[in-house]
Amino acid sequence: MILVENISKIHRRNDGAPVHALRNVSISISAGEFVTIRGASGSGKSSLLNILGCLDRPTGGSYRLAGEDVSSYSDRSLARIRNQKIGFVFQAFQLLPRTTAVENVEIPMVYSGSRVDRRRALQALERVGLGARARHFAAELSGGEQQRVAIARALINDPALVLADEPTGNLDFAASSEIMRIFKELHADGRTIVMVTHDESIAAHARRQILLSDGAVIEDAAICAEERWQ
């Protein structure tokens, strides 16, 4: 699914000094895997996720997504990949606040080239347990509900890859558990999930953990998690 070879990302600070966000990172993720990326803040995990999500381009190295070499893709092609193959879930939910839940879910359909299908958006909300709140403004929903709307939005175009950046970072324990339950369901449905977190208890839900430090992979381990799954 994901094949990243020797990618690096160098930012320029305002004074022109280079900052190495990623150094020669190579990762291979198969379809259907549930992977967490951990690391301290500034370790490069968000940079990596942005590149995996085709929101950003690496400075060097190559990135193949589902067999396509996207490192050289144009803005237009990358946008199409983001629309069709990737679902994003953000820590801050990123919903349009003065817009209803169902209209938020519809946004990826706008850019898919087909008609916006209200019925499908409502079904997606029902799947995350929010069918009854579809007409509420996003700002009226609780944090956990907002994140569920965001997940429904990420899934509306049926992407194979779901990328989540600290999806439970702004949520309390109960809401976090609900969100993680949904992610496990998605994984069970066969979707590939890559989740950035710095929370070990969240990371423990995954079968594989990648640990980043100072822009480099320092640990990439499959967890024998049978006993933890209970």
């Binding site: 003065r98 706008v110 850019y111 080239g113």
Partner: protein, 406 residues
């Protein structure tokens, strides 16, 4: 399909940010209203000028010849050269092919006219009998000076409506005897009112008598103050004017290089000058209207630029779910287009009222040019897109990574 869905997104954004949208619309509406109202003032003024000039010239198929060089203001017997003779008028009628007929005028302004104890000083015009037809005047009551009156030097007078009001009030003036410079004349007709001339003065304060009577029995002068030549084809007036000029120079024995001792007014030239679309007034009005539209555009640009920085997260989110830079540019341009054209529509509605008000103030019929209205709405849309293109471009350059982190 994507464009239609994006337009729907744009419409929702306009509603979502309704307060900002209304301010943008107001900016454009003011611009359009300014444009329409100023345009209508200009058009009204132009039409009014044409009307007044027409009042003075009568019809537009007459060439006027006055004695003296480049004189200014109204001519009268007391301030002109005695260079234009009755024989000149006859020669013009006889020798210039494009001329249909020639009217003669001898006029004065300082003559007392009285009836019983009422006394006024109207313009006194000695005219030939064809004056009426040439000027496009109408007789409201009685009849006009006839060729017979002129030939026999009859003491008859036709009075303007102001004179009738001053001397006779409600009574009928026909058959009454008035005194012009002490000489008794019988009133045989009353002219219909003509209204104001180009300088605003009334054209109805007038007494008309046969020109031969004026020349021989009242003023004792053998020269004319004006010859009016009606041309057969109004389009020929410029050519006829030149022919008259040549004829008069010859008759007055002016050597080449000497200045004319007469001056000729070609109605085509007068009209062209007065209705010049590039006149100072029009240019000023246009400039102000342009500034109004420019102001509307700046409002759009400023508010949209603010809007883009407030909507950075939305832009980043849209990019993350599959919008490319072109999509973002399109949505914001569309929003600018819709807001500006509805502002234009609103401004047009407002200006409708404004035009009526201005017309009422100018005491003129409202000129509401539908084509100009449509043009100003279209202009509003163009202004929206042009001034919206900078913020829309800014929006398309938003870096999604940075926008979503904020």
């Amino acid at each position: 399909m994507k464009s239609i869905e994006q337009c729907k997104q744009g419409m929702r954004a306009i509603v979502r940010f309704r307060r900002r949208s209304v301010f943008m619309m107001a900016g454009i509406a003011i611009g359009v209203a300014t444009l329409s109202v100023l345009n209508s003032i200009g058009e009204n003024t132009r039409r009014d000028t044409v009307k007044r000039v027409k009042n003075m010239l009568g019809t537009f198929d007459t060439v006027m010849v006055r004695p003296g060089g480049k004189t200014r203001g109204m001519v009268s017997l007391s301030n002109v050269d005695p260079s234009l003779k009755f024989e000149d008028a006859a020669a013009i009628a006889r020798e210039i092919a494009g001329v249909k007929q020639v009217a003669r005028l001898q006029n004065a302004f300082d003559i007392d006219v009285s009836y019983r104890d009422q006394q006024i000083s109207p313009a006194v015009f000695g005219v030939s009998d064809n004056w009426l037809a040439l000027r496009g005047d109408e007789v409201e009551q009685g009849s006009f000076v006839s060729a017979e009156d002129d030939r026999r030097m009859m003491r008859v007078a036709v009075i303007g409506s102001d004179v009738r009001k001053s001397l006779f009030q409600q009574a009928s003036p026909i058959g009454k005897t008035i005194r012009i410079g002490g000489v008794p004349f019988e009133v045989k007709g009353v002219l219909a009112s003509r209204g104001a001339g180009p300088a605003g003065a009334s054209l109805d304060n007038i007494v008309i008598i046969p020109v031969s009577t004026a020349s021989r029995r009242l003023f004792n002068r053998d020269f004319l103050t004006m010859i009016i030549a009606q041309v057969k084809d109004p389009d020929d007036s410029t050519k006829v004017a030149a022919a008259i000029s040549r004829l008069l120079r010859e008759r007055h024995q002016l050597a080449p290089g000497m200045l004319d001792d007469f001056n000729i007014t070609d109605p085509q030239a007068v009209l062209a000058q007065l209705t010049n679309v590039n006149s100072t007034l029009t240019m000023i009005l246009r400039g102000v209207a342009f500034l109004g539209m420019f102001g509307g555009g700046v409002v759009i640009m400023a508010l949209m630029t603010l809007g883009v920085s407030e909507r950075r997260r939305e832009i980043g989110l849209r990019q993350s779910v599959g919008a490319n830079r072109g999509d973002i540019l399109f949505q914001f341009l569309f929003e600018a287009f819709v807001v500006a054209s509805s502002g234009g529509l609103f401004g047009a509605a407002v200006s409708w009222g404004g035009v009526e008000a201005v017309a009422a103030y100018q005491k003129l019929p409202a000129v509401f040019d539908q084509q100009a209205l449509l043009a100003s709405i279209a202009l509003a849309a163009i202004v929206g897109v042009v001034f919206g293109s900078y913020p829309a471009w800014k929006a398309s350059r938003v870096d999604p990574v940075a926008a979503l982190r904020s």
